[in-house]
Symmetry: D2
Subunit: 428 residues, 4 copies
């Protein structure tokens, strides 16, 4: 086992910051004491918090118009794991990566597992790609798991089953299924028959799930289909998960909602229905879905964590798969992923400050002003020293971006990694 | 039994228009023959089509800013029924009215039933109002069926049970429940507990439903609650209907969706789940929900009917409650309701032109262009002569607006009806 | 001059909180020192910051469905000023109220001015109401300043001129004009002619503006008109302000934008065009526009202030009229206005932490990650002790909500104020 | 000069359809007579109507996820012109193509002009591409005309000037400028400085415009930039066009608006400001912008043409550049473009049925119901025989899709055209 980032360098940076951090942490600690909040308990939760990083997230993403890759881009799954290890060495809460198949295909998954082990990187949920053609005669142009042609559906099913098999070797415990299937025009697809085919295909995949696995159904209102999408909303996702069985759960991608959607309420609904399986964290301002988590509406992210924490404290929630799903078009993906992981941990930390009993009491008293104050007071608390201290105690960087920038990492990598060819478009 | 509109007047108008109508109808009839469409069959379906009119729809509606009542406004349920009878005498497809309680409360519902019978007006689904206070100590300010206070919930339950009882006398067969319950601010209500209370309250109401009744659950994303609404989307509506039992169904109000929602797909989902109960027809351009049906996006209305007709022809749909739910702020409500009923019948008629088998075939061939053409060709057909002929053969008016305007109805009513006092705001 | 809130009571509360406040302030002060930020300078800016409160904001608002008034509601402009004085005594940054005519009409404006003076309350921008009928024959049902009927337009012009005259007596320096004029249906109004009439009417009003006055044009995409609104967006507002002259400026209401609008960019555009006149602060999640400022998306509020502060520091901005414009439907309006004023001051304070030169430098370096960090770091800073200290030094309450609740104010007022009659709907 | 589609084939198809067409046209003709509408006048307008086709529209488009090219795809500008000629031979109203540079770069534009002349294809407005890198050191990753780096801006300016020069040879008379410049994150770009740079860059381009040319400024709210776009709305577009001078006009792309935008009102505003330059026709349901014109909301397309026709009849509009701008991801682009051209002509035809004087009169009478009826009656008229007759008389196909399908065109082309390599993503 070795480190992607030299431990000594992190220590050096940390040693120059620890004094100020101690001061800030102490201040916060005393503040919490007066509010009967145990900062140690929260810190421990933060030290054990984990959010997975997607392999495709460490490559520069693009739009349909263009992709502008940076220097030193990772060109394959091995280089991607290197980059993920850098992130995890700095932040410590991204120990697992989520691969995408067949994008991340290799001939020898056992070897890949060992490679990742060396970087102390594990594998989270695996993802299947049936939204792009894989080079043979059967095209996904008109759908994959819902295609009118049975042979195409079987091909899509097989890709998912292959992903499960790869995942077993990688010691993953879940499969996320997202299909872009749908129609661009009224009449193009039968809403009813395409859903029927989806469920039928998924049942085939479901039977191949190991007992300790879960399958996560991801919904999205549109894109790449622009008039109708088969799994478009949480309602459809839920009825499919229900139909499939206990191992099927719903996954909430923060960017996959119509304008103005109250996402935190959807989270609550799925918790009550015992079907909340996981998250794809990101943010968006318009109809897009891949900006850095918390970069546009951090209060919404906090409100989502408030629901999760409330449910966790009430014993209604056990195992939720957290993953970042972003496309980094204008930043160094490593930096965006560091910031995003931190933002997510920050939201989680703030949610732990909410006195849920007091909130319930104020809710029952219809004291909307007090309810607002309780949430806002938690949200407005500056927990940066708390989150940094959790990193520090986990042997990670107090200021991960600074350490990373001092590495000159991508510049160095650009000497040894093959360069991405020219400017293209699309995601990677 | 007597007529609100003199039959002779209608006949006179019709006699001046029938020759042109015959000409247009004949043209269409021949056109359909070449397409193997039986115009008689469609005409018969149109002659039997019914959409209910809401009693509150015949009074001038308003916004929170102002209400500008017209002259001759109906001041009570009896005068409202008079107005509804005018509409039905002219269009013939609005034989039933949908009352709202306690707005339409009377001391003697049997007498009301007889009054309406005399106008050949029946009673459709009854509606309960628990979004306004009813004058006693228990306020619905902080919710009704979901209120934290049990006494308030019981009051709201009682209003619904009273509505059922009134409805039984009126020979209605259903209850529509819409609650405005929700919160204006993050934290204000518990998403989970308020839904739990809703279901609990509804179970109480459900037990009082006669065996041949249905209860329709109406969802809405926001307004009057501006941050979260308990029954906000079709997913929540569905899980509640499922929980309640077979007599509970979902109602789709066309204006109750987030921006860009594909409503026709929701309709398909609910059909497949055997939970589509009824519609509130209207249209909207922004976040509002009460413009005249088909006035903003007539193609969407057609696409919804295309789903209904497809399901009907496939034997998947039996009994759907159609109702208009609009607020007429700037028009004479009678004229808007005439136009809207006609627009709805027109959309239905056009959907009957779609060759569903051909459409399915093109869908299975992934021939999106042909699918589009099939729907567009039906939508672009001018069926006005067909819809008018159905009215004519039903003894209603070929040109209902013209007949209505010749009546000088509201002006005459303004002499005998009490005048609405000044300018206020809100709905009526 | 007397105080609405007993100064001794505020002092008593403050004395129990000052020690903790000093501790927190000191901590922040030291933190800022290391960042070369002068906390004193920011505190002074906060002490001089002012945001006006609307008279209509202290009454409980409602939706078109219902209004649920609280106890002790103010019934006229005098009682409203009492309530505003309570707010200002507690927060100190709401020294002025913005009246609405003819809602706040009195027979003697001089007397009103003296009454307000006694409470140390001044008058901010005056507002005209031409979206409700005023009781005579000429109705605003089909528009006011843009009505097709010249007599109606002249009536609407007169209401504005009367408002200016009242404002002169009240020592206001501006008039805000918002019209709800528009259409509910395609074709109903001529877009072109209605805008022409608006400009023509406004020119009439403009000629009556005193030299040291400004007129603020407020735009809104919809409601009460539901298909088209004459002054619907900043583009239309700008061309009208340009046409009218130097004293005409644009007013930005945070809730008056289509879904997903980047409001902070509009603010920047209007600054560059030298046409940014003022703000109506509030928040919204859906299509509504009257929730408490910062209650839904506090980061957006911060980003808006970041534009304002950047422009102020660059000498591009002098005099902007800040006002709260909210409808308090479920809270005690006094409490909501206290929270909102605090939220606005907080956003302003955080914007003052941004190192604009560093931001510019990072922008020019295309260092998006650093730009994000600069803004997020300012936003995440807990400035509550700084804002509270500004209040404290201004002789206002460290914890205004607590002091207010200890007053039992509305309960006491309910003994002496006439009670609002029953449950109605609409705004007040 | 030769034909892409054999004239004899078109004649053969037409001869089998002309009898039914004559019958339908005669029916419509008589109907119009009773309404005092001259069908000949409208037909002549339709015969002279033109809408340009974009060269990039004839290749299969894609999303960022995938592109699924069809068979026989055009691989260069010459093959694209062949395809455009097929479309125009069938529909006759798409005589010009709109090229995109440097996508459509050739070494010899004179030769290209002659090639196109042979197909009777002319060149409409030219477009510049500064949203993708062109292979040298200066990247547009962080903007083109608004880039902080002057050298990059100059490169972007040069691309535009080169496009003008190519356009001069091609006898184009205009340049459309769309930039994707903007930011993904708050703070990333200075709203003010980026607009300043845009105007500055555009002034450079403007000076190179021939006297009889126009430059069209295209706005878009987002994508590829996901938080802020420099030219985001019509307001910004207008102030830039105003600043540049008389030859600068605004271009309205139907898909480039925030949810719920009333586009027809923007059209009216730009007409009144004498800055409406042209259109990019397409349709969209969500945040996308490239579906076939009229496929989602045909009534909106009609309402836009109603504004144009009203202005044309009032002498307020002279020369508007109409272009289709779509991405055909799931259909044969040739078929979609045929349908779209027809849809646009249909909307134009329907708008010519509106009695603008009667509409004005009803507007002035506040008769919203009659206004609605006037527009709806025009919209509901089936003008397919009228539009087909205009095609027929122009020697084009009565049923262009049928003729096209009988050609087996793409299959034939697939034998001779190089095949597109594999499945990629992005637009072409």
């Amino acid at each position: 086992m070795f480190k992607a980032v030299d431990k000594g360098l992190i220590d050096k940076h940390n040693s120059s910051l620890i004094s100020e951090l101690n001061h800030d942490f102490e201040y916060l600690s005393k503040k919490f004491q007066t509010q009967n909040i145990s900062i140690e308990e929260i810190k421990n939760k933060l030290k054990n918090f984990q959010v997975a990083v997607p392999t495709w997230g460490v490559g520069t993403g693009g739009t349909r118009f263009a992709r502008f890759p940076g220097i030193g881009e990772p060109q394959n799954i091995y280089e991607k794991i290197e980059d993920c290890a850098v992130i995890n060495d700095l932040v410590g809460i991204t120990q697992k990566v989520s691969p995408h198949f067949p994008w991340d295909n290799v001939s020898d998954f056992k070897e890949l597992k060992e490679f990742a082990d060396d970087f102390n990187i594990g594998f989270d949920v695996v993802n299947s790609n049936t939204f792009q053609d894989q080079g043979d005669q059967l095209s996904f142009k008109h759908g994959s798991l819902t295609n009118a042609d049975k042979a195409v559906r079987e091909k899509a099913i097989k890709i998912n089953i292959d992903a499960i098999e790869a995942g077993i070797t990688l010691e993953s415990k879940g499969l996320t299924v997202w299909v872009g299937d749908g129609g661009n025009f009224p009449g193009q697809i039968s809403f009813s028959k395409s859903l029927e085919r989806y469920i039928d295909s998924m049942k085939n995949i479901y039977t191949k799930l190991p007992n300790d696995w879960r399958v996560y159904l991801e919904h999205k209102p549109y894109e790449p289909a622009f008039y109708s999408t088969v799994i478009s909303d949480w309602g459809t996702s839920y009825i499919c998960a229900k139909e499939l069985g206990e191992k099927a759960l719903c996954l909430v991608d923060l960017g996959h909602h119509l304008p103005n959607t109250n996402i935190e309420m959807i989270v609550s609904r799925l918790i009550d229905l015992k079907k909340l399986g996981g998250f794809h964290f990101n943010d968006s301002k318009f109809g897009d879905d891949d900006l850095d988590a918390g970069s546009i509406n951090p209060y919404e992210l906090f409100l989502i964590f408030n629901e999760l924490t409330e449910a966790q404290e009430a014993g209604k929630l056990t195992n939720v798969a957290y993953m970042i799903d972003q496309s980094h078009n204008v930043t160094d993906p490593i930096e965006s992923l560091i910031l995003s992981a931190n933002e997510i941990a920050t939201s989680y930390a703030k949610s732990l400050l909410v006195d849920q009993n007091l909130l319930k009491e104020s809710q029952d008293n219809n004291d909307a002003v007090h309810c607002m104050q309780i949430l806002k007071s938690a949200f407005n608390t500056d927990v940066s020293s708390l989150v940094a201290m959790a990193r520090y105690e986990n042997s990670n960087a107090i200021d991960p971006i600074s350490v990373y920038r001092s590495l000159n990492y991508k510049n160095n990598k650009s000497k040894v990694r093959a360069s991405a060819q020219g400017s293209t478009s699309g995601i990677v």
